[in-house]
Symmetry: C2
Subunit: 309 residues, 2 copies
């Protein structure tokens, strides 16, 4: 049977797509990798890498093997974790990435609660845009990503956190609610490109894909947009929880109703993390904490979850 070391060598060659660099990453010489991987291939009866391409690629067999090897190595990592836990020297470093329009309220809401439920964990929270989160997860630079759904990527596990109503911020109208066709007559203020809330806005307000807001200021920051609305008129969209922490004048924040249906717009907040992870215990606590804190009375509302992709 193929050894653990061989698995690590295979993974290193896969990551580096290069024997020499892979061997340096493993602190051995290049022939060692050549021989060990060749030995593994002989034993398994299939080639793992296709050396005829440059840079080298995985064979069909190799693709499937890598998935299994990754899982095995995550399982094996539980042994040093167990030892450190028994020694009392285990401190986990959990790296969480969150999109700005969520982190704006979520981090301040949850900070103290996480501190209690994760007493011995070093927590790093980073604001990133949705696509950056996915890349960082892939590169194993993050352990957990929190963003807006929906999302379907088979190599990542998804757990929904809560649904959040999206309201309109427009001070001019007096009524407490507003219909979608009323909004189309007003100027929308948008977040800059890359923010998924911008895409949701465009979809929801029916602005079309070719919308490039030349006449419009595009803020990177929701609070700036709110000020623009105050000064210049028009409207912008605000997630309900965000609105709460900003302590805005409630009379300016209106529930939106679709002209066609009885639905009100919302976004779904989801968590993403690798299928197998040694940090599951901590991730679970983070997720449960969020679910408990925000997942209260959504079910009674008739929420229509917006897509941002």
């Amino acid at each position: 049977m193929i050894s653990i070391q061989q698995m690590q060598y295979i993974l290193s060659v896969n990551d580096n797509r290069h024997y020499q660099r892979a061997s340096e990453a493993c602190f051995v010489t290049q022939p060692t990798l050549s021989m060990q991987i060749k030995k593994a291939e002989d034993e398994l009866g299939y080639l793992i890498f296709d050396r005829s391409t440059n840079p080298l690629t995985l064979t069909v067999f190799g693709e499937k093997l890598i998935v299994i090897i990754r899982d095995i190595l995550v399982e094996i990592e539980k042994i040093p974790k167990l030892i450190k836990t028994m020694n009392g020297t285990y401190t986990e470093h959990l790296r969480v990435g969150i999109i700005p329009t969520i982190s704006a309220y979520l981090v301040s809401d949850m900070f103290d609660k996480w501190k209690i439920s994760l007493p011995n964990i070093q927590l790093t929270i980073e604001e990133m845009k949705s696509d950056e989160l996915l890349i960082a997860l892939e590169r194993k630079e993050l352990d957990l990503a929190i963003m807006a759904g929906p999302h379907n990527q088979t190599n990542l596990r998804t757990i929904p956190l809560f649904k959040e109503e999206i309201k309109a911020y427009l001070p001019t109208v007096l009524s407490e609610t507003i219909l979608t066709n009323e909004l189309t007559e007003l100027h929308p203020w948008l977040l800059s490109k890359g923010n998924c809330l911008r895409t949701q806005m465009i979809h929801f307000c029916g602005l079309g894909n070719d919308f490039n807001g030349g006449w419009n200021y595009e803020g990177g920051n929701l609070e700036l947009l709110l000020r623009m609305v105050d000064v210049k008129g028009g409207y912008t969209l605000v997630p309900n929880e965000y609105l709460r922490v900003l302590k805005l004048d409630e009379s300016k924040c209106k529930r939106i109703y679709s002209t066609e249906s009885k639905e009100i717009p919302a976004r779904e907040i989801i968590s993403l993390f690798p299928n197998r992870t040694i940090k599951w215990d901590s991730i679970e606590k983070v997720i449960r904490g969020i679910q408990l804190n925000y997942g209260k009375d959504d079910s009674d509302k008739n929420l229509q979850v917006l897509n941002w992709q």
Copy 2:
């Protein structure tokens, strides 16, 4: 880092609780095990086995390590499975154990469907009592057990399959339903000890734990009990699906209502299998097949699930 071979040695000593027998099982000599396990213990920094007892036992660390090692070895087993799958020589042998009062109808109902959804799998179905199923799972003699719930054993994974109403078979009364307090006046006919449906009967009919039915015939077979009811009077309890395959006179099968509540008695059918298993794909198909076939319109009934433990 501890090697795969060392893990297998550790597992073998744990299974055999004896170095010599363990070494034979691994086809090596006893000093090999002694040295390798000592080496692993040195490297991990904790003793795995307590040699001062006879037979030897696991240390606290060892207990935790064994759980991890088992998971690792299940993951590693996916590699030879992948190779066989690619060779086209992989045939899985799925061993399913079912309690008799379920298998009586479930096997004939599901057989053709399983044949379609699991074309390349060798399926062995065995009838066993509930406690025998648990032992067989523990000994890895079974891959999947189907029995009545509820059940909570942390080392096994549980997936509920469906709920099944339990009816009374008594030809004498004319009405279509019967109340629990009417049953207490009649003779119950019971399955022999070890059948969980017997325990459910005793609980449900309020017969008490000290009931030993000296005056009563205890059949190992439900059909025999039904015949006794026909000949001698009294009543027996029949799971609803069983009743269907026996093609009994429907007028003799009565829905039971609790005297106190509006509930009708039922049993929950569950599946049990190891937390980690290489045969998950097949197990899932078996489970989904059963759920699809029986999990239809339970939700409208007010079922009270009976405990058998």
